[in-house]
Symmetry: C2
Subunit: 182 residues, 2 copies
DNA sequence: TGTTTCATGTAAGACGTTACATGATTGG
DNA sequence: CCAATCATGTAACGTCTTACATGAAACA
């Protein structure tokens, strides 16, 4: 249950309402830990009940501003310093790859090329995002944001390379006698 | 709901019981799509009810052997050929990175170094796995298995490189006046 | 005979997604 | 006044994890 820690983390620098936090999720945290409206409001209530957050102000439309409590800060620290969990990865794409030989050679190639282009597109989007940010201003993205962004760039680059490599391998094994390449 | 398709995919080549499929999950599919006993048995019943699988034999201890039906094969094809889903990634580790500045410089470095070593360890394990497999024998791992294995190798390599890069960045920004490096 | 392996099933609870529902306030 | 935005909440459903529960068959 890391949504809870995402909320705690976001509330270190600021005080915010559920609505504010949702926007923060959609902008800064979207690629790392997406969350829906339902989830955020529910978890905020639970966190406040547990004493990790507290309501420090009421606004116009029933708006509630939350702030981190000492207990909450302690919990955040504990989570950050704790042994990082070996997360079991689950990849829809790799699962398909695993059963790729059910498809025809043409379909296999199409699949891998599609993956390569998807990764390339994602990579380009991240690159554009990075270049569009003000690094002089103190926006919401600190040095940590840069680290995760760089991870995304490296990941998508690797994915594209892998897909192109796999496509070439599949293509050459489908017609082993014709070993033409550029 | 891709567990269903994992089961269908595994039943293309063989006929198997839930117990067999569990073992297959733990060996060949563990890194791609882990599944628990509860899940497998439940899903098998649902798949049989839906007509995608059928029981083709009973064994000793209430053992039921399942086989793919034509409908099941069709569904597998449909899934494989379908537009691959843009899966939203959720990374516990990256979430922590995002809030890394809550920690002390020493703790940050420790975290990143730990990540680098974890990735390196995983990489080594995968490499050993690859080298230990008989490629001459027709084990359970076909060409597709090789593709996913290679993905894992590239991923873990990239993760280690990233973590080392990040560690260096963090270290140098903590003591900007002392720009010593090898 | 007793332990290991084979074999299946159910139940409770956490987490996530989608959809539904409601209403106040701001701005044009 | 009307639309967009702000703001919160609930309900239903599906998936995954953990734990509990049961028993037959193989083997030593």
């Amino acid at each position: 249950m890391s949504l809870r820690h995402a909320l705690l983390g976001l509330l270190v620098d600021r005080t915010a309402s559920g609505y504010d936090l949702l926007k923060l999720f959609d902008t800064s945290l979207a690629h790392v830990w997406p969350a829906t409206q339902s989830q955020v409001y529910g978890e905020l209530t639970r966190l406040a009940d547990a004493g990790l957050l507290e309501v420090v102000g009421q606004g116009p439309r029933g708006r509630k501003d939350y702030a981190l409590t000492d207990t909450g800060m302690t919990e955040l620290h504990r989570w950050l310093a704790d042994p990082p969990p070996e997360q079991p990865r689950r990849s829809d794409t790799l699962l398909r790859v695993f059963f790729l030989d059910v498809l025809t050679p043409q379909q296999r190639l199409a699949f891998l090329n599609h993956q390569a282009e998807r990764a390339a597109g994602h990579h380009a989007a991240l690159r554009q995002l990075r270049d569009s940010l003000d690094w002089t201003e103190e926006g919401m993205l600190t040095a940590n944001g840069l680290l995760t962004l760089e991870y995304g760039l490296r990941l998508t680059a690797m994915q594209e390379e892998w897909a192109r490599w796999a496509a070439q391998l599949v293509a050459s094994s489908d017609s082993p006698s014709q070993a033409r390449q550029s």
